[in-house]
């Protein structure tokens, strides 16, 4: 309910895509039955190429993924990766501002871009015979972008309106910002992708130029083409348009890990706009690597069993049996450059039931740590997860997004393919182990969003430590 940010075409732009990995990740693998439709290659200048062939319609999705996102924002300049993404739609030394979009539209193409903590991606969806033309345009702005002060200033206002619309208008989004600010300190995941308002206000064109020079180059990018295309043509065109751009040969930013919390934290937030209370808990996860991939697969099934659908344990316990909640959900977002997250949320039926909901959530988690899940639960979670991967294959755009996002954080096609096998191989004992390994209360934070409550109520008002830094 609260956490779905859908793609909206037809003139409703989106710039930040908060990847909801319970959906995306559960869809992250091509079935082993037809892996031959995915090919990879690399140009001499370092540009990686992924082609996902699907010839049901004569259209393609063309994407360029830069391995740079909000985690690469310099300190004190949060929001620069995202702000810069907006500036990519301005002019180059051969195109006037807005001409890029006009040309795409004239060819019948849709386009947009999105920024996450780990990456920034630009895409066009268009008739497959236009592939060369969109590559030419995308390659042009990889290296020839022009910065005009007045345009950049006006775009800064647009970004501030975007922040107002997506974050400041949503108490739930504000709660998420506060939780992550505490949970991930001092890692860059502690900052929102769009940036803190007071820092966005101070960004300038020089910051944008620096970001461009440092991160926008073929050796820091991945080209993904999905749809009516094959590797030989794609590679030929890519060599023609992207091949001439020199690599930047810049070092990668060092990952900054979060500090361990000394104890579980709770943040209370009251907002006059809120009528329906919400509880959200986030567990911070270790960094993904090939050694823990199998236990992360077990964690994904664990979260499915706990919080997904109407057969999930939380739904059965809190909504069906105890009748103290009206909504539950959760997801595991394990594949990120640094720390992943496991998230669970509950909508209590009213504010008097907040404590009892949390108590029962803790009880359910304790059960997962001490007793094995049933065979039926395990099989159901696997079936649902693998069915979702098949449903996701219906969409060339979803396929392009899944491969682009995972490869931009360093996974290979083989890693993605292995994920399906890992899911199939999970046992009930693996899930018990994963529960003990990853649902570590001391590395979790719980947020409570309620309407303003009367003073004697034990729900406290906003905690200072959750505030964004103010200077």
């Amino acid at each position: 309910m609260l956490l779905r940010l859908s793609f909206r075409f037809s003139g409703r732009p989106f710039y930040i895509l908060l990847m909801i990995m319970s959906i995306a990740l559960s869809a992250c693998s091509q079935s082993r039955d037809n892996p031959q439709n995915i090919k990879t290659d690399t140009l001499p200048n370092g540009l990686e190429i992924v082609v996902i062939t699907d010839k049901r319609a004569p259209v393609i999705t063309h994407m360029v993924w830069y391995k740079a996102g909000a985690t690469d924002d310099p300190d004190g300049k949060s929001g620069i990766a995202h702000y810069f993404e907006h500036l990519m739609f301005k002019g180059t030394n051969t195109l006037a501002s807005g001409e890029f979009s006009e040309k795409i539209a004239m060819m019948g193409g849709s386009e947009n871009a999105f920024t996450s903590h780990d990456y920034t991606a630009y895409f066009q969806r268009i008739s497959s015979d236009r592939l060369g033309e969109v590559m030419k345009l995308e390659a042009d702005r990889m290296t020839n972008l022009v910065f005009v002060e007045a345009e950049a200033l006006s775009e800064q206002d647009v970004v501030l309106e975007e922040r107002a619309s997506r974050t400041d208008s949503s108490p739930l989004a504000l709660l998420g910002e506060k939780l992550r600010h505490v949970l991930h300190k001092p890692s860059p995941y502690a900052r929102p992708i769009i940036g803190w308002r007071h820092e966005i206000e101070k960004l300038n064109v020089e910051d944008a130029k620096d970001f461009y020079k440092r991160f926008y180059a073929p050796d820091n990018a991945i080209l993904v083409v999905a749809g009516d295309a094959d590797m030989p043509e794609v590679k030929k065109l890519a060599a023609r348009y992207y091949g001439a751009i020199p690599p930047a040969n810049k070092p990668k930013n060092q990952l900054i890990k979060a500090d361990n919390l000394s104890a579980p934290e709770t943040i209370y937030m009251q907002d006059v706009r809120t009528r329906q209370p919400v509880m959200q808990r986030i567990y911070r996860l270790p960094v993904w690597n090939r050694d823990n991939a199998k236990s992360f697969a077990a964690l994904e099934l664990l979260i499915e069993i706990l919080s997904s659908g109407t057969t999930g344990r939380l739904y059965q316990s809190l909504i069906v049996n105890e009748k103290i909640a009206v909504g539950v959900g959760g997801w595991a977002d394990t594949m990120r450059r640094a720390h992943g997250e496991a998230v669970v949320y509950i909508s209590p039926s009213d504010t008097t039931h907040i404590d009892s909901n949390i108590a029962l959530l803790d009880e359910e988690i304790k059960k997962l740590k001490t007793e094995q899940v049933t065979l039926q639960e395990l099989e159901r979670a696997k079936t649902k997860t693998l069915a979702d991967t098949l449903y996701a294959q219906d969409s060339q755009f979803a396929q392009a997004r899944i491969y682009g996002s995972l490869m931009s954080i360093g996974l290979t096609i083989e890693d993605v393919g292995r994920w399906t096998q890992d899911i199939e191989a999970v046992s009930a004992a693996d899930i018990l182990k994963a529960a003990n390994l990853y649902l570590d209360a001391s590395q979790s934070i719980t947020g409570l969003l309620t309407p303003p409550l009367d003073a004697p109520n034990k729900i406290k008002s906003g905690s200072e430590k959750a505030e964004a830094p103010t200077s």
Binding site: R12, D129, D228, Q276, T311, V320, A387
Partner: protein, 439 residues
Amino acid sequence: MKHHTINLIVGFFFLIAFSVGPFSSSAEALEIRQLTSPKGIKLWFVKDTNLPIIQMRFLWRGGAANFDPGLIRFLSTMLDEGAGDLDATTFQTRKEDYGIKLSFSAEKDSFSGSLSTLSKHKDEAFSLLALAVNKPRFADTPLERMRQALMAGHRRSASDSGTIASETWWQNTLAGHAYGNAVRGTPEFTQKVTQGMLRKAHRQLFAQDNLIISVVGDIEETDLLSQIDKIFAELPVKNSLQQIKPFSTSDGSFVFVDFPGPQTEIIFGHIGIPFNDPDYYPALVVNHILGGGGFSARLMTEIREKRGLVYSVYSYLNEIGSLPVWMGRMGTSHKNVEEALTVLHVELQRMREDGPTEIELKNAKNYIMGSYALGFDSGRKIASKMLTAQYFGLPPSHFEKRNSYIEAVTLEDARRVARRLLKPDQLIITAVGQKATSE
């Protein structure tokens, strides 16, 4: 069994349309089959064996506006909460055990459903759907559970400025008419809904004569037809919906709702041009140039790109039953509301008086024609396109012909229809936010 096949609709057309380019397309052609089941249920079907999945979309004409407001939304939550000999938990468990996706959705003028299944679990999926469609239980315990979920939905709606703006706009535009009511109804009504009311609504709405179906996926035609009969042939032949009264829309107005937050959410619009009107396609082109897709629309250029007043602004043509509307939305800081609305008025007036330029018209037509294929690149999208075509009573050949209607729009048409469509002095506006305070 009678069925006829119309060949080559999707693929063939696009192969022709896109045959100029650096390399020729090798996309496969999918054919749309118009079928009638042995018991007389009609549907459109595309056989697609690329993936081992089946996607079905179906829709009954008649929705929230034919009933007490809120009743049909309630109904949409109850169909998979126990049916036939399965109680709610057993039904849901079976659904999830097989990875089946089944959902229902209520709109003002329709009630629709969506089923996705792996083809190997099709028998389970279709039998669950048959139970949900024909024998929902409406048992007390799940009914109370859904009531609580719907009450939470009311609370969320009441705290969302976008929802408030939209609902206020509809109420204000169609004062007193059923089309003006929110699909969710009111909390008071949700509290009063009974099993008897849901049963009656189900009986009135679910029939054969107001049903349309589309299916895409990996299934044999004969198998599908017998499944379709099991699901839908037991329904009454004729629906017994209450008719919707004629509506009249209000004159131009501005309604402000005080609501805390950093932005004012604005909905604007007035009566539109219906899909079956000869001026529909010119209107579609005019709207595209004014506030439709992409960054090059006039409202986007003037309000966002040049002035930085909004993150998003757009307009669109819509149709609720027999009511065509043209409407749009934007969100801006309180201090910018006046300027954003002024620019909006200026742009509407300019488009009304001068129409688009020749270049704008050419670009818009190129975009609308060129992007049409993007709506057919997944089974899910094809199923939904086929549902829409049936909803408007079009043949499958519409998909072939549609771009020729766009191509035929002349500058003269666009100018004339801009004048007919846009009425800045009759604009109905709702704004939800806070009055700007002078600093």
